[in-house]
Symmetry: C2
Subunit: 257 residues, 2 copies
């Protein structure tokens, strides 16, 4: 632990991670705020830098015991200046990104696949929902928002530590790894009612599409069963994160955890 001043060079480095270009160049990202940093301290990420206010450290002494990284005490103004939140009176970490490693469903596992979900808030919320419903793997098309975008991390409320992502050519991935046993289901308008779909206990893939355009033709060509949330009123659509939650709930009530 140190109480030293932070060099201008360090400040510039941390702030560079607000941008995707530098996150990719340095293979590093930011984790900000109490909830996300506490979850980070419980997880297996490599923390490169950790900036804390003294009040955060006092309130979370136990969580810091197991922290191997050195940390620096800073005041609220400096932590806010380093990060992307409007204000941050608790903590900010610079964290090593994980390699983009192929993820495949285990036996009986349901995996989520996102086709061009572009809004960072939606992606983060979807990871939180996946985590709630015990879904641990999310396959993302290349055009899906970047997992390490600070807005994504913020919206996950810590779930980025438990849900893994793999970015790839989604159509090619599904073509390669779908099977008779583990099918590809996709959320479309006019598909089979999720209240009566026989979700398989063998697991499979659930594909959710873009906010405006839904599932793309290339990915849609790999979908073996179209499913829909029944509509009872006048709204034309549901937000993609909302729809993901409703479908995951229907999967879990059918197949269990």
């Amino acid at each position: 632990m140190s109480n030293s001043n932070i060099s201008a060079k360090k400040i510039k480095f941390v702030q560079s991670l607000h941008q995707k270009k530098y996150r990719q160049e340095h293979q590093a990202f930011l984790v900000e705020g109490t909830k996300n940093v506490l979850e980070l301290l419980n997880a297996d990420f490599e923390i490169m830098d950790l900036f804390l206010t003294e009040s955060f450290a006092e309130k979370n002494e136990q969580a810091l015991w197991k922290c191997k990284a050195e940390w620096r005490f800073c005041n609220e103004d400096i932590i806010t200046r380093l990060g992307t939140l409007q204000t941050n009176d608790s903590a900010l970490a610079v964290v090593q990104a994980k390699p983009n490693t192929l993820l495949l469903p285990d036996a009986h596992e349901w995996v989520l696949a996102l086709d061009q979900v572009r809004d960072p808030g939606n992606l983060g919320t979807i990871l939180r929902i996946a985590d709630w419903y015990g879904i641990r793997k999310v396959i993302c098309s290349e055009q899906t928002a970047e997992i390490y975008n600070p807005k994504v991390i913020a919206a996950t409320m810590g779930s980025f530590t438990r849900v893994q992502t793999y970015y790839c050519d989604l159509a090619a991935y599904l073509k390669e790894y779908r099977s008779e046993n583990q099918k590809v289901l996709g959320a479309f308008l006019g598909g089979e009612d999720v209240h009566t779909v026989a979700f398989s206990a063998a697991g499979g893939f659930l594909v959710m599409g873009n906010e405006s355009h839904g599932i793309s033709p290339e990915v849609g060509a790999q979908v073996q069963q179209a499913i829909s949330i029944p509509q009872y009123g006048g709204a034309e659509s549901l937000n993609v994160a909302i729809a993901t939650a409703v479908i995951c709930d229907n999967i879990r009530r059918t197949v269990g955890a």
Copy 2:
């Protein structure tokens, strides 16, 4: 229809409606953007002023046929300046607020009740969800976000035209209007699993609580049955709009429309 310039006084009036104080003083609010204005033109609100770009008018000629209000053509810059959206290349309306009229459930009707849902985006999203699930009445505690906040209207994606709201002392309302036949259910941690709750075909009230603190003790005292969405993974909670959607889906699959 006119093509006249807009007076400085008119501009000031429209911009004053960005603020709650003036919305209340003038009993008027703004509806902005293509989707919301088109839904407005199909609904029974009184339109006080309507500003359109010529391209919006050309694309939506039929929707404008039945419009009784006069409209003015403006360029994109002026419409953007009048409103709250980052950019608006289509339309903006000034609309008369509706009186805050007591809403009660009809026979067999499920009604939503919101206890201090403070985020405008959450409230708007909840109205869109209610609309999708055919829920037409939403009772709001006084501390719930204001329905006419432009961010609420934007997030409803037009559903503000189909879902009615009534603001009141929610605990007193529920105490007065709950019955043996139409019970008050509330979303709590540790309540009965929504996958097995016997939602009544007689209808009732579903109470959703504040983003951070859940249902308040006063409103909680009126809840006759606590219900919960089962959790299968590590996330601690779901966003209130997400939880509302999942519970509404469980109600509808049990009782139908």
